[in-house]
């Protein structure tokens, strides 16, 4: 392994898409109805997918938590869905991609996107502050891209040693 400061570049440069697993694909796209059930549905799907890919259990907990926060943000701050609304018309897209580096280390990338507009920070924004803190703490990299037409959150997992 190169020294830590070089690892990021190493991975980015040499990462290639993973070949399909025998039982579960390396890619998964899910469209979620942007209601308050969306985070729990996302948690179930992400956990099942990571288990199928034999991800380490402690890492599964971290990533399930991070993805749940991203989806929760879209529902609460992107679309401002009132509490206990389960089936609004808006959707949140969740994209999952597995990559394997040449050295066999695996990473998963989650892209959570909405077409809402996150509120500017205010005194009631502390829930989102916690969400951001959780997403950052549970991932290798967090990218948030906000535009007037929607917000995209990219969560990249810590690299997992070869199986």
């Amino acid at each position: 392994m190169p020294p830590p400061s070089d690892q990021e570049e190493h991975r980015v440069r040499r990462t290639r898409p993973a070949a399909d697993d025998a039982t579960v694909g390396a890619e998964l796209d899910i469209e979620l109805s942007a209601g308050w059930a969306a985070p729990s549905i996302a948690r179930e799907r992400v956990e099942a997918w990571l288990r199928a890919h034999r991800w380490p259990p402690a890492q599964i907990d971290e990533l399930v938590l991070a993805v749940s926060e991203a989806v929760s943000n879209s529902v609460e701050h992107g679309y401002r869905v009132p509490p206990e609304t389960v089936e609004p018309r808006e959707t949140v897209d969740l994209r999952i991609r597995l990559t394997v580096a040449d050295d066999g280390y695996r990473q998963v990338e989650f892209v959570v996107s909405d077409r809402g507009r996150w509120q500017e920070p205010d005194t009631a924004a502390s829930t989102r502050g916690h969400g951001m803190l959780i997403m950052r703490s549970c991932t290798d990299e967090l990218v948030v891209e906000g535009t007037p037409n929607g917000t995209t959150v990219v969560l990249r997992s810590r690299p997992i040693p070869p199986r």
């Binding site: 308050w36 059930a37 985070p39 729990s40 948690r43 402690a58 907990d61 971290e62 399930v64 938590l65 749940s68 926060e69 929760s72 529902v75 609460e76 509490p83 206990e84 389960v86 502390s126 829930t127 989102r128 916690h130 969400g131 803190l133 959780i134 703490s137 549970c138």
Partner: protein, 118 residues
């Protein structure tokens, strides 16, 4: 998520089970507010040892409940029971709630108001 409320002479115990997220946190908030209203000097203990998931809306509820316990009701720090399972203790530690709550691993210790054990 379910919340079971156990009233005793010296305490009100809220036993929470399942996932506390944006869908369910409002119900936890209501349950805690109801408990505060009838405490009448008794201790309030939240047992989260059977919680399977705790997200930021649940953390917000715990923060607000802790603030209310100390700031408005004159109580000591809110007593919360957690087990060693990461889905609960990990988010609590990430956002620093462990500095605000009195955390226990054991319901009886929490009910007695022993020194926090976590």
């Amino acid at each position: 998520m379910t919340v079971r409320s156990v009233d005793r002479d010296a305490s009100v115990l809220l036993v929470v089970e399942g996932a506390v997220d944006g869908l369910t946190a409002p119900r936890l908030r209501t349950a805690v507010a109801d408990a505060f209203d009838r405490l009448d000097g008794r201790a309030l203990v939240l047992d989260l040892s059977s919680v399977t998931f705790l997200g930021s809306p649940g953390l917000r509820t715990l923060f607000d409940s802790a603030s209310e316990a100390v700031g408005h009701r004159g109580h000591r720090p809110l007593r919360v029971v957690v087990d060693h399972s990461r889905p609960v203790i990990r988010p609590i530690e990430i956002v620093g709630l462990d500095n605000v709550l009195a955390l226990y691993h054991d319901v009886d210790e929490a009910l007695r108001g022993d020194e926090p054990t976590v």
